[in-house]
C-alpha cells in the first residue's frame, strides 16, 4: 500500500508537472519536434539514407556490416559516438576562442528557425503573422559563424571554403526571399498557419510550380548540396571551412548543414506541399492532455509534415549521386542570371493568378 502511494505521489508531483511543462508549445517545439531531439534522429537517418542511396545508384551496398538486418543504420550511431569521444585538436596558430565556440554557436543558431515551424493548426511556439519571414531571417545568421570559423582555422583550404560560402550566400539570399513571395501573394499572408489553411483545395506547388522549383534550387544552394556543394568540395578544398575540425566540433559543424536542409525541407513542405493537408481528422481525438489533443493537435499533423519534409530531404540528398559539381563562378552566374530571373517570373505568375481571380 505504501509503495502504491509512493508511486501515485511520484506521478502527481513529478511526472504530471514535467509532462505539463514539456507539452507547452514553446518548450516542445524547440526541444522535441521539430527541434533538438528529432534533429539528432533526422541527422543520423538522413546521413544513412544519403550513403545508402549513393550506394544503390553506384551499384554498391553502402553502410551494411554493423546490423546487416537493419541495412547498416547502426553504423551511423557508431560514427556519432566516434565524433563525440574523439579528441578535439586545435591547430597551431588558430584563433582558439572562435575555433572552439564557432561550431557551438553555428549549431545553436541553425536550430533557431525550427522554433518558428508550427506542428499543427493549434500548436505552434510562435503564432506570429510573420512566422515565415522570421524563420527565413533566422536562417541568415549561421553563415556569419561559418566565415568566422574559416578565418579562425588559419588554414588555406578553410579560408577558401569560407569565402566560397560567403560568395554563394550573396548569390542565393535574394532568390530565397523572392521565391517565397509568390506564396505570400497567393495566400495574402506571411504566417505559416494561414498559408497552410489556404492550401486545403490546391497545394502551392500546383498553383505556382516555378516558385517551388526556385525555392528548391535555392535550398540546394543554401545547404551546399550537389550540384552546389562548392564550399566543402572535398576534391578541391579538403572539407572547406571545416577542414581543421575534429571530434565533436566537426560533428556540430557537419550537423549544421543537415539541420539547414531539414529546416528548409520543413518550410518547403509547409508552403508548397500543403503542410498537414489533405488528411482530415476529427478536431480533438483523445487522449487530451493539459488542453491539447495529442493525436489531432500534435501527432497526425506533425507526422504528415515530417513525412513530406523527409521526402524533400531524400530527394535533395539523392541529387548527390546524379549531378556533378558546378564551379564557384558558374554557381554565382546561375544564381544571379537564372535563379533570380526564375524567382521574378514566379512572382509575376502569382500576381497574374491573383489578378485573374479578382476578375473572375
Amino acid at each position: 500500500m505504501m509503495a502504491e502511494d509512493l508511486v501515485i505521489q511520484l506521478i502527481n508531483e513529478l511526472l504530471v508537472p514535467l509532462f505539463r511543462f514539456l507539452l507547452q508549445p514553446y518548450i516542445f517545439v524547440p526541444l522535441i519536434y521539430p527541434g533538438l531531439l528529432v534533429v539528432i534522429v533526422v541527422i543520423i537517418f538522413i546521413l544513412w539514407l544519403e550513403r545508402k542511396i549513393a550506394g544503390k545508384v553506384q551499384l554498391r551496398y553502402g553502410p551494411l556490416y554493423v546490423s546487416k538486418r537493419f541495412g547498416g543504420i547502426i553504423q551511423l550511431i557508431a560514427d556519432l559516438l566516434r565524433y563525440l569521444f574523439a579528441e578535439v585538436l586545435v591547430p597551431k596558430g588558430a584563433d582558439r576562442f572562435i575555433f572552439i565556440f564557432g561550431p557551438v554557436l553555428l549549431f545553436t543558431s541553425a536550430l533557431l528557425p525550427l522554433s518558428t515551424i508550427p506542428v499543427g493548426p493549434n500548436y505552434a511556439a510562435i503564432t506570429s503573422e510573420l512566422s515565415l519571414l522570421i524563420s527565413l531571417s533566422l536562417l541568415t545568421i549561421p553563415p556569419m559563424f561559418v566565415l568566422a570559423m574559416s578565418w579562425a582555422s588559419n588554414n588555406k583550404f578553410s579560408f577558401i571554403g569560407g569565402l566560397r560560402e560567403g560568395y554563394l550566400m550573396m548569390a542565393y539570399e535574394i532568390s530565397l526571399f523572392l521565391s517565397i513571395l509568390p506564396m505570400v501573394i497567393l495566400f495574402k499572408s506571411l504566417s505559416f498557419i494561414e498559408i497552410i489553411e489556404g492550401q486545403t483545395a490546391l497545394w502551392g506547388i500546383v498553383l505556382n510550380p516555378l516558385a517551388a522549383i526556385a525555392f528548391f534550387i535555392t535550398m540546394l544552394y543554401a545547404t551546399s548540396k550537389y550540384p552546389y556543394e562548392i564550399a566543402e568540395a572535398d576534391t578541391e578544398v579538403v572539407c572547406g571551412p571545416y577542414t581543421e575540425y575534429s571530434g565533436i566540433l566537426y560533428g556540430l559543424s557537419m550537423g549544421y548543414a543537415y539541420i539547414k536542409t531539414y529546416a528548409l525541407s520543413l518550410i518547403f513542405a509547409l508552403i508548397f506541399l500543403g503542410g498537414w493537408n489533405p488528411i482530415l481528422w476529427p478536431a480533438s481525438l483523445p487522449p487530451i492532455w493539459f488542453g491539447y489533443s495529442i493525436p489531432s493537435d500534435i501527432l497526425l499533423p506533425g507526422l504528415m509534415v515530417f513525412i513530406k519534409a523527409l521526402i524533400v530531404m531524400a530527394f535533395s540528398v539523392f541529387l548527390r549521386t546524379v549531378y556533378p559539381r558546378y564551379r564557384i563562378d558558374q554557381a554565382i552566374k546561375i544564381g544571379w542570371h537564372n535563379l533570380f530571373t526564375l524567382s521574378i517570373v514566379s512572382v509575376i505568375i502569382s500576381v497574374l493568378i491573383v489578378m485573374l481571380k479578382s476578375v473572375i
Binding site: D95, E129, L130, S137, I141, W336
Partner: protein
C-alpha cells in the same frame, strides 16, 4: 511569471547589447569587431521583437546581419595583415562620453517613472494604409528601388563585357 520572464529577457538582451557594443569598438581584431557587430545586431533584433516591433526585428536580422555584417566579415577576413591604425582618442573620449551621458539623462529623465506597454500591430492594416493613403510615396520608392536594381545589373554586366 510572464512579467518576470519579460524583465529577465530585457535585462539579458540589454546587458548583451552594451557588452557587444563595447566589444565592437574595443576589439583589436577586425574579425572580432565584425562578429561582435553581428551579435549586437541579434541582441538588438531581440529587443525590437520584445517591444512588439517584430517586423523591424525581422528586417534587422535579414538586412543587418544577413547582408551587412556578413559582407563586412567577408571583407575583413580577406585582410591577412590587419592594418595598425591606433590614433590616441583619450582626450576626445573624456569630452564626448560625459557630454553624451548628460544629453541622454536630459532626454530620458522625464520618462523615469513612466510605464510602457508592448505595441502589437496588424501588418495587413499598415500595408493597406500604405496602398490607399500613402500610395504616391510608395510608387516613388518603388521606382527608385527598381532604378537602383537596373543600375546594379547594368554595372555588373558592363564589368563582364570588359573582362571578355
Amino acid at each position: 511569471m510572464n512579467e518576470l520572464i519579460l524583465l529577465a529577457s530585457f535585462s539579458i538582451l540589454g546587458i548583451a547589447l552594451v557588452v557587444f557594443a563595447a566589444s565592437v569598438v574595443g576589439q583589436r581584431s577586425l574579425v572580432y569587431s565584425a562578429l561582435s557587430l553581428g551579435l549586437l545586431g541579434m541582441a538588438n533584433a531581440g529587443l525590437f521583437a520584445l517591444l512588439g516591433y517584430a517586423f523591424v526585428a525581422v528586417f534587422h536580422l535579414a538586412v543587418y546581419i544577413g547582408a551587412a555584417v556578413i559582407f563586412i566579415l567577408f571583407s575583413v577576413t580577406m585582410f591577412r595583415e590587419i592594418p595598425d591604425v591606433e590614433v590616441s582618442t583619450k582626450i576626445l573620449t573624456v569630452i564626448t562620453v560625459p557630454l553624451i551621458a548628460l544629453i541622454l539623462i536630459y532626454i530620458y529623465l522625464p520618462y523615469l517613472n513612466a510605464t510602457f506597454k508592448s505595441q502589437y500591430f496588424i501588418y495587413k492594416e499598415i500595408s493597406l494604409l500604405f496602398v490607399t493613403r500613402y500610395w504616391f510615396p510608395l510608387v516613388i520608392t518603388g521606382l527608385a528601388l527598381v532604378t537602383t536594381l537596373i543600375e546594379g545589373i547594368t554595372l555588373a554586366r558592363m564589368e563582364v563585357e570588359e573582362d571578355v
